[in-house]
Symmetry: C2
Subunit: 525 residues, 2 copies
């Protein structure tokens, strides 16, 4: 695919109105072709007017038609896999093979949402039939389904340039819900963004949908994102990135004359607790795997198991030694952007200034933007005294926390803010301690992993990628898994309607053969 660097608005490619940029190749530290167009508030306005125009027809597409559109996107993503992986590798400094896998997985996410759309359970249809003879007042027929919110603004993330970016899970779930999407491309991977954006644009055209169903804008600085969040026609926002960025958008959206829902996925250290029997039995294995998973994507992953906590005792030294040995094997690798690299160096140093000791490190950086793998250790006392030690260092640093007692385990667990995931390693002899710890962990996270690791993330019906603040801005939702669609839906009740004016999913004959809640009982009639 030839990159033009254009913005994609409705069915068109649109030239720059606010300057342009080149992509940065972290592996070589150079800028690469072509020029990518920047737009501004005028392009945001144009994209949102088209999205709003598209809304009525797109949100009322039949389930089969919408599912076929999602499947088509999946097919077209797979068809550009090699191009997409190669360009993404250039723009991230990460191996192309990783992005071949990410493309296939992301295509799979579109297919899973196609299934969700065909199943139609996301409509959460409920029917309370009329009861004309009820006393003291008759009940009129009530029928409920979920409908799409309206145009959604999605901010692509820097760290997963496919699965959390242009054709990522946010886009898949918003389109599945029936919402047109205006995507703000991340400037860390403009070429990867264009390839995905063109796939979406072409799929919209091939499916015969209104071209306003998908647009992609890009701009310098914060202005374009602010214009998106402020625009009167946007009905919801999703964002994956830093706590500062996410909260600025969230708060800004609540200051609108009409506040809109914002789902931001921000920061998590994914604490890993290793209880004594598990530590004694498997300390070395846990230490090795921790580093292997933690260094995935050069530590630039929201699910990185950044902090491991254990009481010093049998197995602790083995865990530590295995982790040191593993981290020393890691080559320094380029980080996504020079800015991310600089913040990494600063934050890893902050940990050390705050009392974390350097246990081991990977090979020294060769390139300027290379992130060096670091393994730090701190006492529980320091972790409890210094809040920044409990905060994320985005990049290849892991922190071991040496605790002194079971009480300190609980105290440390209570000290963490909200998390995307927490992990518990425990054997049979740890049962009482695990039972004590689990309710404390449950209050603080959207996912509890038992005797496994937080990476990789599964995309399925039972997935949660969410959690209490600051993991996300609204713990009631998830951004990964089939439940992600719920962010973009609202209930509407149709009361006392004649059958032929009802939306199809609510008609008496159940023409779509949906599971429905009839008078409080689930049924497929």
């Amino acid at each position: 695919m030839t990159l033009t660097g254009e913005l994609l608005i409705g069915g068109l490619g649109v030239s720059a109105t606010a300057g342009s940029m080149k992509a940065f190749a972290p592996a070589t530290g150079t800028l690469i072709e072509p020029e990518f167009a920047f737009g501004g508030p005028a392009e945001v306005d144009r994209a949102l007017r088209m999205a709003d125009d598209a809304f009525d027809s797109y949100s009322h597409t039949g389930l089969a038609e919408r599912a076929a559109f999602l499947d088509l996107i999946a097919d077209k993503l797979e068809a550009v896999k090699d191009d997409l992986a190669a360009r993404t590798s250039l723009e991230t400094g990460l191996p192309a093979a990783q992005f071949e896998g990410e493309t296939v997985r992301t295509a799979g996410v579109f297919r899973k949402f196609a299934t969700v759309v065909r199943q139609g359970r996301f409509l959460q249809t409920a029917i309370d039939p009329g009861q004309p003879g009820r006393l003291p007042t008759p009940r009129l027929d009530h029928r409920l389904q979920k409908v799409a919110l309206g145009p959604v603004a999605i901010f692509g993330a820097s760290n997963f340039p496919i699965s959390y970016s242009v054709a990522g899970g946010d886009t898949a779930s918003a389109l599945a819900a029936g919402c047109p999407v205006v995507l703000k491309a991340h400037n860390a991977h403009p070429g990867a963004s264009e390839i995905q954006g063109r796939v979406l644009q072409e799929a919209v055209a091939e499916a015969g949908l209104h071209p306003g169903v998908f647009s992609m804008v890009r701009g310098p600085g914060n202005e374009i994102g602010e214009a998106l969040v402020d625009h009167p026609l946007v009905r919801a926002v999703t964002f994956t990135g830093s706590e500062a960025g996410g909260m600025a958008l969230h708060r800004r959206a609540q200051q609108r004359p009409d506040p809109i829902p914002v789902f931001t996925e921000m920061t998590s250290v994914n604490p890993t607790f290793v209880l004594p029997a598990a530590l004694a039995a498997r300390g070395a294995e846990i230490g090795t795997t921790l580093v292997q998973r933690g260094m995935y994507n050069v530590g630039q992953a929201c699910l990185k198991p950044a902090i491991l906590l254990a009481v010093d005792g049998a197995g602790y030294a083995e865990l530590r030694d295995a982790a040191v040995a593993e981290v020393e094997k890691w080559a320094a690798r380029p980080m996504l952007t020079p800015g991310i690299h600089d913040a990494y160096v600063r934050n890893a140093q902050r940990h050390q200034d705050n009392g974390a000791a350097l246990l081991g490190q990977g090979a020294a950086p060769a390139g300027e933007a290379d992130g060096q793998a670091l393994l730090l250790e701190v006492t529980g006392e320091r972790l409890l005294a210094e809040p920044t030690l409990r905060e994320e260092v985005f990049g290849p640093t892991l922190l071991l926390v040496k605790l002194t007692s079971a009480e300190e385990v609980l105290e440390a667990a209570r000290a963490f803010r909200g998390q995307l995931s927490v992990t518990l390693h425990a054997d049979a002899a740890d049962r009482t301690a695990a039972e004590q710890l689990l309710p404390v962990l449950e209050r603080r996270t959207g996912r509890i992993v038992f005797n496994a690791f937080s990476i990789p993330q599964e995309v399925s019906y039972a997935s949660t990628h969410g959690g209490p603040f600051p993991a996300t801005s609204d713990s009631r939702f998830t951004s990964v898994g089939m439940g992600a669609i719920e962010r973009f839906l609202r209930p509407v009740t149709y009361q006392n309607f004649p059958d032929d004016l009802l939306p199809q999913p609510l008609r008496e004959s159940n023409p779509l053969n949906l599971w429905r809640l009839v008078d409080g009982e689930l049924t497929q009639r």
Copy 2:
């Protein structure tokens, strides 16, 4: 029941720390005994610490135990029906019989949520079993259920002193979800609040639950509400009242260091569209019923059908004449508070200053705080030109809008902000116009009523009491109906857990016999 005027914190009655008040009896314009205690931030803190203490045990009660607790509240509410209705009548100037009915209906709501809890579908359990042989990576077992958010702050409403107040639907749904409640009583009905609060407090004790499960505070001015919204231990807020009040709380909560979800139900004019054939066939009947429903609760209802729109033609004069005749029968009746009365007079006058003509009125006020029934009429042109004519006048005023064309119907429909309900009267010959109008209405409301009226509100599985801003602050939720529980729940995934450490609803044997989503298919095994 003897009223003590105390705050109810945990299991205790607590004396005033910030002054006190007497209740106002609108029918006589006098203050009545006893003194009701005011508290401040210290009482809020005490209540929330207890609620937080109660959270772990209460949120983990078994479904049967929690359902029995809700049924007990229902029984105890019914047992105080006569006392509660009499006191509420005194404090509102509305007939006791109305509150006997409201008590019975509200007890019914607690019983319905007991059923919801027993059914356990609100847990939205999903199981994706492990697939150890999957390529390229095995799938670990994933199990999801919804869990309670934490302590909830509920602001009682002024206008429905039982169903939207202390023992109202917000409290029922939060307790059903497993959340302790700290309720801010509305000062318009302190005695009715105390009776309900004591019912809840006693039910907590009788059920053997932690006393922090329910507390009720009261204070002068906004300080106590702000303290509630700001408190670090509050995890969600609900509010029913004015747009200004609701938005102040919503925005305040988003400025917290950790923003929390706020559901505010604020303002709606519930537009009623009468299409030509229906107008010709049933104009008079619609006019009469409109006034009868519109004057319910002296027009102090969020679902009041405040604005009726129709194209001038056959049946319009009959509708207008019937409405005039009906409104002239209405005696002026005391409004809930002198402040609400003053705002009513001011806002009804504003409509007239903005071009609404007075078509008819009820009997002149006898008492100072009596609200006089008014029927106003305005052209479509004025309605479109003057936004305040599309805003709520809280009280017994209804507005007819005389339109000139089918195009003006659509234009007027598009001009409204978000609504709790909209109503469409249409006959077979109106079908094409109805089909054009329905998508426009669907975008603007949580409920569409067909050939019926927005009042009464049904509380069932298919109910929605929600809608786009400013009807509510988050259109994805409802505050009435079984779906109201979703405001207080969040998903948690348990990954790779041993069966005996899983929460009961997720165990392999399905001991609670729940409907569960297993590998994407609904099943009761």
